[in-house]
């Protein structure tokens, strides 16, 4: 069953066409990679899926709900879509535990609740979820450390925990291994594989072909604002159109 359907999406900036008639179907419980050379429109497309940008026309449906027409990022998140950013977006002045408790609270209490009286420390279900999730990404022992001092790889793992604690249906990852060492990259791949085993659909935007081919069940290739090839990894690998799009770039 398709969890995310994008069809006929166009987006222009001024006179510049960023997306042209983009069609994309993401099946439930798969890892779907979107690849393409720089400037192919990957980030624009992600922003159109997260309510950050409004496409000129077209349809973006998630689990039967339209993600267009004034719907804001927090509402999309409440529907069950969570996003991991290219540079980890965490609460750097707060402890790891607090970092994970906030999304956990967002899942338990919704987008807004005036919960200004009872101490947060007494919210057992919230902190328990958070600690467990930190344990799963291997950061539980550092849970009282202030996040700003973490390495980039650890921040990425923390961000994953922040998303996973919300038990999202769809996880969007924008270049999750950008700027990481080889070891960190491999760790992240392992982590993503484990996440993939637990009924979470993932969309990964990635440059690193090693990451893409280790993970993806399905690959869409974006070039010049449109999807040029769409299929299983095996069929993408040798496709001449893909190689042409990259002009002997990163695929070679």
């Amino acid at each position: 069953m398709a969890i995310l359907e994008v069809s006929g999406v166009n987006k222009t900036f001024g006179g510049l066409k960023a997306l042209t008639d983009v069609n994309l179907t993401v099946e439930e419980n798969t890892i779907h990679a979107i690849i393409g050379p720089n400037g192919a429109g990957k980030s624009t497309m992600l922003n159109c899926m997260m309510g950050k940008l409004q496409p000129d026309n077209g349809v973006v449906n998630f689990d039967g709900t339209s993600l267009l027409g004034g719907i804001t990022p927090y509402q999309i998140n409440q529907l069950g879509v969570c996003r991991v950013f290219q540079t980890p977006e965490v609460f750097s002045d707060m402890s790891l535990l607090e970092n994970v408790m906030i999304p956990s609270l967002a899942r338990h209490d919704g987008a807004f609740e005036f919960n200004g009286w009872g101490p947060v420390a007494k919210r057992d279900e919230v902190s328990q979820d958070a600690i467990q999730m930190l344990a799963e990404v291997g950061l539980a022992e550092q849970r009282n450390v202030i996040t700003g001092s973490l390495s980039r790889g650890d921040k990425r793992r923390l961000e994953m925990a922040m998303c996973l604690v919300q038990k999202p249906k769809l996880l969007l990852l924008d270049e999750p291994t950008a700027g990481m060492s080889r070891a960190d990259t491999n760790n992240t791949i392992e982590l993503l594989k484990k996440i993939g085993e637990r009924d979470i659909t993932m969309i990964i935007i990635e440059h690193d072909m090693h990451v893409v081919f280790s993970l993806a069940d399905h690959i869409s290739v974006l070039a010049q604002g449109t999807v040029i090839v769409d299929g299983k990894p095996e069929s993408i690998k040798g496709d001449p159109r893909v190689i042409e799009a990259y002009l002997g770039g990163e695929l070679g």
Partner: protein
């Protein structure tokens, strides 16, 4: 936590967790709760014991003690907005002014009892801040600061001009013999030939009685702020300060959180304003001027924005030094330096003179700059640094030292 977790076996097998999470968390929580209790007890004792504690410093007269409490409340409230969310409002004096006007009107129309005046003042300031906050919070950063500043200046200018029937313009709103005081009249309280005094069910609200009334309200106000700091709501506000973008992608609708915080801090300002009227029943537009907003910003920063107790300390320090410094003149200065040789005493008098008396604001400005430049965390950060020096914790890395206590510094 209800069920005891023996050991959490990580389902993802990344790094098996070996510590017993439950026990550590429970003890951490118990420690925080105990610290908060101690904090409340010490705070209450210091506030209520103020007249004795401050007697050696010559600051034990009720008028000044009342000001400590009132500005303490104002700063605590401001800190809920600025300290927790990082949104710098330059318009909080407007809410203080509204609270004062509302309280004086309550005295004029209803009764000289302080309770309705305070309630009325807080409510009016709350409504006013809800309206201003609703509009101003559509923008963030410096735009928010300028919007709040613009609203405060509008209120100030209007209070001086067209709103004169409500505010009595430049003269300020005062009690009059001819005031109706309907409730007092209905209760059969006789009119006297002199102006009536504010009271709390018969107890007059000037002098030490007034101070204890303010002190108890300060303690309650501090307790509420403590609860907010420790609550999920407070955590959300800190999240907004740290990374608003992540908050949005985390499913949090930040605006109602911000608006609630803004209204709460506006009500605190209204509370402070109405207490000013309770202790001295008049209200003037100068309370709404933006320099008055700047003063509460300074108090909060000086003590330490985002800390629980810092703003109260900041308010106390500023009001204390204002009192001391503005009382100095050339003669008293010379007397103070009399232990020095004559020439040196003259010299010291000359260079200190611009900083005292009328020049108190100069001292304030210099202090303000020094704090922002050298001690952005305020006095609380300074105290923390000194404490670290003595405990040797300064050698530890920042991450480690903060790991022991993830709550904001007390």
């Amino acid at each position: 936590m209800s069920q005891k977790l023996e050991k959490i076996k990580s389902p993802l097998d990344m790094e098996p967790l070996t510590i017993e999470v439950h026990d550590v968390e429970a003890s951490h929580r118990a420690k925080t709760a105990r610290n908060d209790l101690i904090l409340m007890v010490v705070f209450s004792a210091v506030v209520l014991g103020g007249p004795w504690i401050l007697a050696p410093f010559g600051a034990d007269y009720p008028d000044l003690l009342q000001r400590f409490c009132i500005f303490g409340i104002f700063a605590i409230g401001f800190n809920i907005m600025f300290g927790l969310t990082g949104y710098l409002s330059f318009g909080h004096a407007a809410f203080l002014g509204v609270g004062s006007y509302a309280a004086v009107w309550s005295f004029k129309l209803l009764t000289m009892n302080a309770v309705p005046a305070v309630i009325f003042g807080v409510l009016c300031a709350g409504l006013f801040s809800a309206a201003i906050g609703y509009i101003s919070l559509r923008r963030a950063g410096i735009y928010f600061s300028i919007l709040t500043l613009a609203f405060a200046q509008m209120s100030y200018n209007l209070a001086y001009s067209v709103l004169t029937p409500i505010t009595n313009g430049e003269t300020g709103l005062q009690l009059e013999l001819s005031d109706s005081r309907m409730l007092d009249a209905a209760m059969g309280i006789e009119r006297t030939s002199s102006l009536p005094v504010t009271n709390l069910f018969g107890m007059k609200m000037s002098g030490y009685e007034g101070f204890y009334f303010c002190a108890i309200i300060l303690i309650i106000a501090f307790y509420i702020s403590l609860r907010i700091f420790r609550s999920p709501f407070g955590m959300m506000l800190r999240g907004i300060k740290t990374n608003q973008n992540r908050m949005a992608y985390t499913g949090i609708n930040t605006r109602p959180y911000l608006l609630t915080a803004f209204v709460i801090s506006g009500m605190y300002a209204g509370l402070a304003g109405s207490l000013m009227a309770v202790t001295d029943p008049l209200a003037g537009a100068e309370r709404m001027q933006w320099t008055a907003s700047g003063e509460v910003v300074l108090m909060t920063i000086l003590g330490g924005a985002g800390t629980l107790i810092g703003p109260v300390i900041g308010a106390g320090v500023i009001k204390y030094f204002e009192n001391i410094f503005s009382a100095f003149n050339e003669d008293t200065l010379h007397a103070a330096y009399s232990f020095l040789p004559e020439g040196l005493a003259d010299f010291m008098t000359t260079i200190s003179h611009p900083f005292v008396g009328e020049g108190w604001h100069l001292t304030l400005g210099v202090l303000f700059m020094m704090i922002v430049i050298f001690l952005p965390g305020g006095l609380m950060e300074g105290a923390q640094r000194i404490a670290n020096l003595f405990s040797g914790a300064g050698k530890k890395s920042k991450a480690e030292s903060s790991a022991t206590d993830t709550q904001p510094a007390e």
